[in-house]
Amino acid sequence: MAKIIQVGMADLKLAKSPDKLMTAGLGSCIGICVFDPAVKVGVLAHIMLPSSIQAKNAQNRAKFADSAILMLLEEMDRNGASRSRLQAKIAGGAQMFKFAGDSDIMKIGERNTQAVIENLEKHRIKLVAQDTGGSFGRTITFDVENGSLLIRTIGHGERII
């Protein structure tokens, strides 16, 4: 039986076909989905922040875009994936509140998106699709069999990228 593996906030998990990966309620966070179509293995990382460099507490590597991508590559390597075949899809990075007292919270989604794209480029992982920004939450299901990413929202439709 195929399982649906849940990935929490600041968490990272690997799945092999036919299992799927899912993370619920992405707001300013980003779901980074990377898979290798040849071996049908994929990782979903649910990151919260752009960079581990200035963080006072960077123990949990899955929390930051830069360290999560390194961690994800290690996981993929260990499971027989080839870096040259890797494809990435990302979703999230929204701005959740209509207006907030401070500006940082407004931009965190945008900063996360930017950091994820930069780090994917840095490691030469091809970004094949993205569904980012806006002001709504996303729940995503990643099928590592074919790399399709199902995105569900409340009031903003449903799509597969």
Partner: protein
């Protein structure tokens, strides 16, 4: 060591002190809410929990449950975040009650401007009353910001707020109170998340510092 790291070291006495301020704050907030909707509001004994980020959405019925979130930052001597979360259906009912409309008048996806600001006001009054009571009791200066309103998946609303704690911590201290209307289901959850350092300020003000 920063304030957040010491969450695990809280003594029973300190937890009780936090519960007590939660009780005072929420008691006042419940009264304000009851006056606004002209109906009795009950509250439970506040819970103090130290949670991993991951576990916070579970308090709200899962990361993809549909909720309204009213969010404020608190500045002053003990900076904190305040979040009042209620299921969308409940929020709409409260707005109808506030505005003397028949139940079912307010519809989530088609809220008009007045209903929207009524919802905002609801959060504003509850948070301000809570904070006032807290400030009186502790003699701390606590200044609330303008509230921000979000209506979406619980996890998505929490993301942005927890991200601000993420640079220094993996855990967050949650002071949670549930409001209930009569015997009916939970109306809303009120959360106060002290920033690193604030916890000790609050505890010191209560005479139970580390």
């Amino acid at each position: 060591m920063n304030g957040l790291d010491r969450f695990q070291e809280l003594s029973n006495l300190q937890v009780d002190a936090l519960k007590e301020i939660g009780n005072i704050g929420a008691g006042n907030a419940a009264t304000a809410l009851a006056q606004m909707i002209n109906s009795k509001i009950d509250m439970n004994v506040p819970k103090v929990s130290i949670l991993e980020f991951d576990k916070v959405p579970e308090l709200l019925g899962g990361a993809d449950s549909y909720v309204v979130g009213i969010y404020l930052t608190v500045t002053g001597s003990a900076p904190a975040r305040i979040l009042f979360i209620l299921p969308v259906a409940q929020a709409c009912r409260l707005v109808d009650m506030m505005m003397g409309q028949p139940p079912g008048h307010t519809v989530p996806q088609q809220m008009n401007e007045i209903e929207y600001s009524a919802m905002m006001e609801l959060g504003n009054i509850i948070s301000a009353t809570y904070l006032n009571a807290l400030a009186m009791f502790t003699q701390l200066t606590l200044v609330p910001s303008v509230p921000a309103l979000g209506m979406d998946m619980a996890g998505a609303l929490l993301n942005a707020i927890l991200a601000q704690f993420g640079e220094v911590a993996d855990h967050v201290l949650v002071l949670e109170t549930q409001f209930k209307k009569g015997d009916e289901d939970v109306v809303g959850h009120f959360f106060m998340l002290p920033e690193p350092g604030s916890l000790n300020t609050i505890l010191t003000a209560l005479g139970v510092s580390f």
